[in-house]
């Protein structure tokens, strides 16, 4: 499961990035991880100015935050579901968003 916090490009500051590694996971995006412990860190589109999708578990987040939406919901396996009501976005809708962003 991937739960991310969107951080504006330019607003993420590294105190240390000496062990940061990148994997090019598709034509349009890459994923960062720590090469020592393997922690998954973030997702970043290659578009100029694209926000950082920082994995929520890496951050100590303030209380009261809620998940905004769930995406690629049709690819979710049956063995889990998150509680709570929010919008669910399909992979077709996500691909349409990507197409729009790449225009």
């Amino acid at each position: 499961m991937f739960i991310d916090v969107s951080v504006k490009d330019g607003d993420l500051r590294f105190e240390s990035d000496s062990t940061l590694a990148w994997f090019e996971s598709s034509k349009h995006a890459r994923r960062g991880f720590c090469s020592v412990c393997g922690s998954s860190l973030f997702f970043k589109m290659k578009l100029n100015g694209a926000p950082w999708g920082v994995l929520a578990g890496t951050l100590d987040l303030p209380a009261g935050l809620e998940i905004g939406e769930e995406v690629f919901i049709d690819e979710k396996p049956d063995y889990y579901a998150l509680a709570g009501e929010r919008s669910h976005v399909t992979s077709a809708e996500m691909h349409a968003r990507l197409k729009e962003a790449l225009k």
Partner: protein
């Protein structure tokens, strides 16, 4: 009990794992799982065990505590499996595998470390860290 075989793989596909027998899925909400996966750890174990089929040379193992290690693919960074040092038992990240629709979450562990920004549906038992250790850590003799 079935003798089904499940094949799982990391994001780049170079590490492949094989699970044998019925899968069981548990969710760990501990702070270490949150930092490692970036999300709660959804772990699968198999009734007849789990082994590495290909890509062993790409697997890096991080000594994450006195009692366990965590292994990942050094090429794509996929978090692969958790292993207790005292036992020859692995639990893999459930998302590596295509699991049958009949599988449900068996248990949530370390629920008292869960942050407030997510909750799971379903009534699988929720164990605190103390309850988890009492149930599984035993007296260290096994």
């Amino acid at each position: 009990m079935t003798n089904a075989i499940y094949t799982g793989h990391c994001l780049c596909g170079d590490v492949k794992l094989e699970g044998r027998g019925d899968p069981r899925v548990d969710v760990c909400h501990c702070d270490m799982c949150l930092h490692w996966h970036g999300a709660p750890g959804m772990a699968v174990s198999f009734a007849n065990g789990l082994s590495i089929s290909t890509g062993e040379a790409l697997i890096l193992t991080f000594d994450s505590s006195e009692w366990a290690t965590r292994s990942f693919c050094k090429k794509c960074g996929t978090t692969l499996f958790y292993k207790l040092k005292a036992k020859d038992e692995f639990s893999a990240q459930a998302g590596l595998f295509n699991l049958p629709d009949t599988v449900d979450i068996s248990e949530h562990i370390f629920i008292d470390e869960k942050p407030g920004w997510y909750d799971f549906k379903g009534d699988a038992p929720r164990l605190t860290g103390a309850e988890t250790l009492a149930k599984y850590a035993g007296d260290g003799s096994d």
